[in-house]
Amino acid sequence: MKIASHFDKIERFDALRNRLDQFADFEIWFWTTMNAGTNAVNAALHATGITEDGPWYPQQPGVYMVEGAEPGSFVADFKPLGDVLHVGRPKIEKPLPEKVQRIAQLMDVIEEWRDPCVRDGEPVTQEIIDKVDTAYHEVVALAREVAADGEGN
């Protein structure tokens, strides 16, 4: 997906996460944060030329949904590395620039709470929310920097 589309999603996700209650709506607030962060990861990877920005959409590592022969249909196919599902899915073998490495580290901070708090019932605390929120804002700011750096090159 194109960098502009990733940032469009980030803007809409950002608006949504600001409307939600961090505790009462935690699951979707968290999921919105994680999805926005993943879009930031993909924008940064495209901007640095590490992944491709074509119209194929990840189903599982290495497998993407692409337009089929029938209008509006999609079929699974192998494609070059495009959008990632999460940091580490799939693992990227190419060396990452410093800012992209930092983005990946921050996404690990966010994703650490995905299964415990969304699926397994670990109690949500203000400390967890603050860690996720702080990491998220840094992820998006860094991705914007990386995208701007890419435009300047």
Partner: protein, 132 residues
Amino acid sequence: MGKGIDMDNAGHKKFAERIMGTMEKLGPDDHEMTIEGAMLATTHWVNYALHEFGVTAADDDVQHTYFLSGNDCQRYGIVAEELIMALDEIEKIRPMYVRGDVAGGDKAAARARELVARAKELAMAAKPLPAL
């Protein structure tokens, strides 16, 4: 699968209903998180039903349908085929409409809402199997 924390059925029901409550706050511009909310809540309904039927233990939760083995699908399908299919249908629209920017996200979100509502109905009707 979860990380070993046993969520009982009261927990699955509470989480599913809370997520569905948050989904009521989502509008037409929020089709991605409507689909994601449906996926998360339906997963809790699937686990609620499988635990209620006695087919899975509390520490053996389904996460994504694409992580299930053929044997899992066969076993769970005996009692919860429509539920598993509902979750699978939601999972299959995520690449294009959640991760991607394919037109028609609003229709996909509306379908996801139908599926999670049906999943709740099916889960609430689940009863322990006498033979297990």
